[in-house]
Symmetry: C2
């Protein structure tokens, strides 16, 4: 479970006016640990919000990322993924099944230090730490 359960408050605390579409996208991201793509979000919300447009999903995600309410994950070369959990954490992608998993500071020694690093005169806005390999299940089933 995440810190903020309420999508409306989460939007407002990041200075975003909560429209029904924005609430739906934010709510979906706050309650998913699947790191969905824009298309997956659209497909998930369409049934209960039939007039929703894919463009709105893209626009909303852009807005949320720029406001810092959501993280953009570039671990998957094919397409962008999104994460409603903005606390510092790393991600792992399985080369076989494609799953993207969260790795929290308890599981990744030095993650906190790496995340809040001062690097010379660079002004760091965001840190991304990605691990790529084979998850437990995918190691069992293959020689790869």
């Amino acid at each position: 479970m995440l810190i903020t359960a309420n999508p409306i408050e989460h939007l407002q605390s990041h200075g975003i006016k909560p429209s029904p579409q924005r609430i739906a996208v934010m709510d979906y991201l706050l309650n998913s640990r699947m790191h969905p793509t824009a298309d997956e979000i659209y497909l998930a919300l369409s049934p209960s919000m039939p007039t929703l447009s894919k463009t709105t999903v893209y626009n909303t995600l852009k807005l949320l990322v720029e406001a810092g309410a959501v993280l953009n994950i570039s671990i998957d070369e094919k397409n962008a993924r999104y994460d409603g959990d903005t606390r510092p954490h790393a991600h792992f992608r399985c080369l076989k099944c494609g799953a993207v998993l969260d790795l929290y500071p308890e599981q990744v020694p030095y993650l906190e230090q790496i995340d809040r690093q001062q690097l010379g005169r660079l002004r760091i806005v965001q840190t991304r730490l990605y691990y790529i390999g084979y998850c437990e299940q995918c190691q069992e089933h293959t020689s790869n």
Copy 2:
């Protein structure tokens, strides 16, 4: 300057048969610190190799990455970038000018530890550490 100056040896040491096109791409990556995109590589090599096809650049890059001779950098959402330096190091991208810079272990405390981490039963093949923000020059010229 990099460890291996010779593109042919570098290819062979990764089990890749050196064709003229592969040598050209490898040579370009070994002597560039710009982290070029496939298109930038194509444009750079075209003049001296007029028959070169963009498909060949893509094919070659895929081959080089799979053989571990080159790194794929996913820090730039728009398109993939490539790095001929396969030693462990992090990358920084400037949100204003778009430059992608190398950050070596001397500049990033804990990078070595983060890179060779054992994470439970996950089998890690590659670690990617990206910092995003504003470079020195771009901070000077704006309020951002």
